[in-house]
C-alpha cells in the first residue's frame, strides 16, 4: 500500500479522479453559466474570455455543459463497473475455486461473452431494453463482465494451489472461511486493477453509445452526445465537438494511467494481459 502511494502514476490518477468527483458533485456551484440556459443572441460564439469553450447554436455555454457532463460520465462509468465487478468477482471466485460443473458452465458463458466484440454485446443489450442512460449502464455492465470473470478466475486458480491455503485446510478451516478469509483478499489486487481500467473503458463506451444516439437524450450535456450534436456543424463551430471530446480523452487517459500504475505495483504478472 505504501509502495502504491509512492508511484507517481497512482498519485496522479487518484488526484484526477478526486478532482473529477469534486467537479461532478459541485457542478451547479462551479459552472460559470447555467448549462441549460438558452441565449440566442450569444449563439455560436468562438472561445473567448467569457466563454472559454465558446457557445453552441442556441447560445449555451459549452464550458459549463462540459463540466456538467462530468456527472453523467462518472456516474455511468461507476455504476456500469459496479455491475461487472460484482458479478465478475462472484462468478470468477466460484468458477476458479470450486471448479467442476460450475466452472464449466461459467466458462461457457464467458466464451459466449467473448465471442461478441464488446461494442456489439452492448448493442445487443440496447436493442432489447431500448435506448437511454439506464440501458447504457446495463449494456456496459454486462459486456465488461466476461473479461472480469476470466481475470478473477485466473488469479483464484493460482492462489488455490498456494501452501497457505493447504495449511488452512489442514487446520480444519471450512470452505467458506478459506474462500472469504484467504482467497478473497488476494483477488482484491487484480480486481481493483481490472475495475480501474474498466472504469476508463466504461466511460469510453458510454460516450460512444451516446454518440450513436442510444444513450443520453438532448438537452442532457453528456460528453458523447455533445460531440455528436455538433458534428454536422464542424465547419461553423469546431469548438463544441473538440472540447467535449477532449474531456473524454483526458478523463479516460488519466484513469488508464491510474490503472496501469496499479497493475504494475499490485500485480506485475498481469502486464500485457489486461
Amino acid at each position: 500500500m505504501k509502495r502504491a502511494l509512492r508511484e507517481p502514476r497512482i498519485l496522479f490518477g487518484i488526484g484526477f479522479l478526486l478532482a473529477l468527483s469534486v467537479i461532478a458533485v459541485f457542478a451547479p456551484a462551479i459552472v460559470p453559466y447555467d448549462p441549460f440556459e438558452i441565449s440566442p443572441q450569444e449563439s455560436l460564439m468562438p472561445p473567448c474570455s467569457r466563454h472559454w469553450f465558446g457557445t453552441d447554436t442556441i447560445g449555451r455555454d459549452v464550458f459549463s455543459r462540459v463540466l456538467y457532463g462530468t456527472r453523467y460520465s462518472l456516474v455511468l462509468g461507476v455504476l456500469a463497473i459496479s455491475i461487472s465487478a460484482t458479478f465478475g468477482s462472484i462468478l470468477g471466485l466460484v468458477s476458479g475455486y470450486f471448479g467442476g460443473p460450475a466452472d464449466a458452465v461459467i466458462m461457457r458463458i464467458v466464451d459466449v461473452g467473448l465471442a461478441f466484440p464488446s461494442v456489439l454485446l452492448a448493442l445487443l443489450v440496447i436493442s432489447i431494453v431500448g435506448a437511454g442512460l439506464p440501458s447504457v449502464i446495463l449494456a456496459i455492465g454486462i459486456s465488461s463482465t466476461p473479461p472480469f470473470i476470466r481475470i478473477v478466475r485466473g488469479s483464484v486458480l493460482v492462489i488455490k494451489e498456494m501452501t497457505y491455503i493447504e495449511a488452512a485446510r489442514a487446520i480444519g478451516a471450512g470452505q467458506a472461511r478459506i474462500l472469504f478469509r484467504h482467497v478473497l483478499p488476494e483477488v482484491f489486487a487484480p480486481a481493483l486493477t481490472m475495475a480501474t481500467l474498466g472504469l476508463a473503458g466504461a466511460i469510453f463506451s458510454a460516450s460512444s453509445l451516446s454518440f450513436l444516439g442510444f444513450g443520453a437524450r438532448p438537452p442532457t450535456p453528456e460528453w458523447g452526445l455533445l460531440v455528436s450534436s455538433a458534428r454536422h456543424q464542424l465547419r461553423a463551430a469546431w469548438w463544441i465537438s473538440t472540447f467535449s471530446g477532449l474531456a473524454i480523452v483526458v478523463s479516460v487517459l488519466s484513469i488508464n494511467i491510474l490503472g496501469d500504475g496499479l497493475r504494475d505495483i499490485l500485480d506485475p504478472k498481469l502486464r500485457g494481459k489486461i
Binding site: P117, G213, N256, I257, G272
Partner: protein
C-alpha cells in the same frame, strides 16, 4: 495437431450454438408484437394477422422457432427477412460486407504498421526518453474515442486542408481517414503489447546463450528477440479483428460510409429486429471463425504451444 484443431472446431460449434441461441432468445424478449410492429402505424385485420403468424411460424413454441431459424441459416445461408426493407438479411449483408471488410483490413494494416515498429522501438531502450514518449502516445491512442478522433481528422484534413473527402465510399482517398481513425486505437494497443512482449523475451535464457556464444548484438536482436516477440504480437493482431468489427459501427457512422456497422446502427434505431438478429449472428460467427484461425496459426507458428 489434428486432434487439437478438431477439438477447437467442436468448441467453436458449441460457442456459436449458444451465442446464436442468446441472440435469438434476446430478440424474443423485446417488448412488442413483431407483426403489429411490421404494420405500424396501421393495424392488420385479424385474418391477415393470423395468416402472417402462421407464415412466419410465430405461433410455434420458442425452441421449434429457434431450430427452424438455425436450420435455415446453416442449410441455406438464410438469415431471415428485414421487416423494414422487405428484403432477405443475407442480401443486405452481401451489399454491405465489402466496404466493412475493406475498412477493417485497412484499420488492421494501420494498427500493425504503426503499432509494432514503435512498440519494438520503445523496447529497444526501456525506461528511457524514447520508450516513455512512445508509451505516453500509445496510452493516448487507446484513450481516444474513435468518433472524436474521426471528427478531428475531418476537421483538419478535409475541412481545413481539403486533402480528403469528408464522407462516402469510393477510391483510396475515401479510405484514408476512416482507416486511420479505426487503426490508431489498435496501434496504441499493439505498441504496448509489442513492447512488453520484447521485454519478456529479452530475459529468456536462449537470448543470454546467444549473446554469450558471441553473436553480434544485431543478430541477437533480430533473430532471437524480435522474431520470438512477434509471435504473441501476431496473435494479438488477429484478435484486433473483433475490435475492428465493433469500431466499424462508429467509424462508418462518423464518415457516412456504407457498411455492416452503419446498417446495424440503423436497424437498432428503427427496431428492425430480424435484421439486427441476422447481422449479429453473422458478425459473431465471422469473429469466432477468425479467432479460431488465429489460434490455430498461433499453435502452428509457435512449436512450444501445447495442444
Amino acid at each position: 495437431m489434428i486432434a487439437y484443431i478438431g477439438r477447437r472446431i467442436l468448441l467453436l460449434v458449441l460457442t456459436l450454438f449458444i451465442s446464436t441461441f442468446v441472440i435469438f432468445g434476446a430478440m424474443q424478449l423485446v417488448p412488442g408484437d413483431p407483426i403489429l410492429a411490421m404494420f405500424f402505424p396501421r393495424v392488420p385485420s385479424p385474418e391477415v394477422y393470423r395468416s402472417l403468424q402462421e407464415q412466419l411460424g410465430l405461433n410455434k413454441p420458442f425452441f421449434v422457432r429457434y431450430f427452424n431459424y438455425i436450420g435455415k441459416v446453416v442449410l441455406h445461408g438464410d438469415l431471415g427477412d428485414s421487416f423494414k426493407q422487405i428484403r432477405p438479411v443475407s442480401s443486405i449483408i452481401v451489399l454491405n460486407l465489402a466496404p466493412t471488410v475493406e475498412l477493417g483490413l485497412a484499420g488492421i494494416f494501420v494498427s500493425m504498421a504503426i503499432g509494432i515498429p514503435i512498440g519494438f522501438l520503445a523496447a529497444a531502450t526501456p525506461y528511457r526518453v524514447v520508450d516513455q514518449s512512445v508509451m505516453v502516445l500509445a496510452l493516448i491512442g487507446v484513450s481516444t474515442p474513435s468518433f472524436w478522433l474521426g471528427l478531428l481528422l475531418i476537421l483538419v484534413f478535409s475541412l481545413g486542408l481539403g486533402w480528403f473527402p469528408t464522407s462516402g465510399v469510393g477510391g483510396l482517398s475515401y479510405l484514408v481517414l476512416p482507416a486511420l481513425t479505426l487503426g490508431l486505437y489498435g496501434a496504441g494497443y499493439l505498441a504496448r503489447f509489442a513492447r512488453s512482449s520484447v521485454l519478456e523475451v529479452k530475459h529468456m535464457d536462449y537470448v543470454t546463450t546467444a549473446r554469450s556464444k558471441g553473436l553480434p548484438e544485431r543478430i541477437v536482436n533480430w533473430r532471437h528477440i524480435f522474431r520470438n516477440a512477434l509471435i504473441p504480437v501476431a496473435t494479438m493482431s488477429g484478435l484486433l479483428v473483433g475490435y475492428m468489427l465493433g469500431g466499424a459501427v462508429i467509424v462508418e457512422t462518423v464518415f457516412g460510409r456504407l457498411g455492416m456497422g452503419h446498417v446495424l446502427v440503423n436497424a437498432i434505431s428503427e427496431k428492425d429486429f430480424p435484421l439486427v438478429q441476422g447481422l449479429l449472428i453473422f458478425i459473431v460467427s465471422m469473429f469466432s471463425v477468425v479467432n479460431l484461425i488465429v489460434d490455430i496459426s498461433y499453435a502452428y507458428i509457435d512449436p512450444r504451444v501445447k495442444y
